[in-house]
Amino acid sequence: MEKFLSGDEAFAEGIRLACPDVISAYPITPQTIVVEKLSEMVEDGSLDAEFIHVESEHSALSCAMGASAAGVRAFTATSSQGLLYMAECLYYASGGRFPIVMMNANRSTALPWNIYGDQRDSLSQLDSGWIQAYAENAQESLDLALMSYYIAEHKTVSTPFMVNLDGFILTHTYEQVDVPTQEQAKSFLPPYETENKLDLDNPKNMAFSAGPDTNYIFKYKEHAAMRRAIPVIQEAEQKFSEIFGRRYTGLIDAYKADDAEYILITLGSIAGLCREITDKLREDGIRAGVIRIRYMRPFPADEITEAVKQAKAVAVLEKDISFGNEGTVFTNICSALQGAGLTVPAYNFIGGLGGRNISHQNIIEIFEKMQSGKAGRVNFIGIEEGENA
């Protein structure tokens, strides 16, 4: 059924269709609507779940872990400071291999205090062992809510999954969204079954300590499981397209990149504007292209390098900066380029921090700088002295 929904509302609809058994979350702008909607669904009986009111994000994820350790499907959601507050638990959840799904509304981190969108919150947690996906629009948000459980709970993966929505730009913007039926969702997403649970008939020691001999083997296994998510993502998208008729493109979403000379790599909701500019530049005979990263973890190194191998220059536009170095997405991409032996010039453009607007003109200028080569390695959009920073 077609509905007019915000990104947050669409995500809540997706979670309703995924039928989690336990939801524990603490409201924080701009994620609040997800928690409000889910609590209303539990209240009116359209979602049969335990809704646990917690006093903090640390408790929210701890509760979700407890639920997952009892063998049921768990959900939580947060943003910004809330994500940072639950950071300790992120590593517990991934190390315990609890396939919890979390929605994170991408928002800047204090200080200065700010509630608007950038991606510094989730990108700071790339090493926490969670699968990380970035949605572009409300429909993809709903669809990722369903697909995330399929991928996270897959027996070969069993890894928690964070779905990121750009704060306000996506969480609060209304779009037409196709909401599938419960029957369709059921045929897509099997019930959660696991051996990784508290079981009276088969008592286990869970969530224990492990010394130097074995600890690193556990870490190796976390890494291997995350890499195994790559074929499972493809499997999920194939099954999803058969049932819902919408086809997703794996770890990246490449637009006119096949023959592109100048490729802009980005993630999240800004990608739509970048594609629009690409079309405009193509009319002027400039072979522009866009790659939208859908998954930051597992990182699509092979997919990106394959897509840019013919390019004359690439630029990475991200709402993040790792102070004293460069944008973290850029670091990841440069590592992939080096690994593939590509020596294409690569430029990093930092923008949108604290929700600052990234304009048409900003993106046109990024393509111009790619062509002229007159750009520093790291460039802060709109700040003169930020060039060649």
């Binding site: 051996e195 969530a207 224990f208 074995t214 083997i217 296994k221």
Partner: protein
């Protein structure tokens, strides 16, 4: 009374380590009592098998055998709680040599 026993320590390879952070409960491979300076000693004449020490022991090292408390010195840390809680005064604390 089910009590885990100390087993032979083996080297775990990648295939032996489980996927998730869980393992068979009570899998003990090494003793752990090195820092004990005093040890509880049960006077079986006085012990009435009331199980209070068994219930209070924070390390779960006390079992009741033939209606008498038995202490597992491989894991007892010597905290003395059993001695404190013992109403008949059957558990005394003796200095470790």
């Amino acid at each position: 009374m089910i009590k885990p026993t100390v087993r032979e320590k083996k080297v775990f390879g990648v295939a032996d380590v489980p996927e998730d952070t869980s393992f068979e409960a009570g899998y003990l491979v090494s003793v752990n009592s090195g820092w004990r300076s005093i040890r509880p000693v049960v006077n079986t004449e006085k012990c009435v098998g009331c199980m209070q020490c068994y219930l209070y022991c924070p390390d779960g090292v006390i079992s009741i055998q033939d209606n008498k408390a038995v202490i597992d010195y491989d894991f007892c840390k010597g905290c003395g709680i059993c001695s404190k809680i013992c109403k008949p005064g059957a558990i005394g604390m003796e200095r470790e040599r």
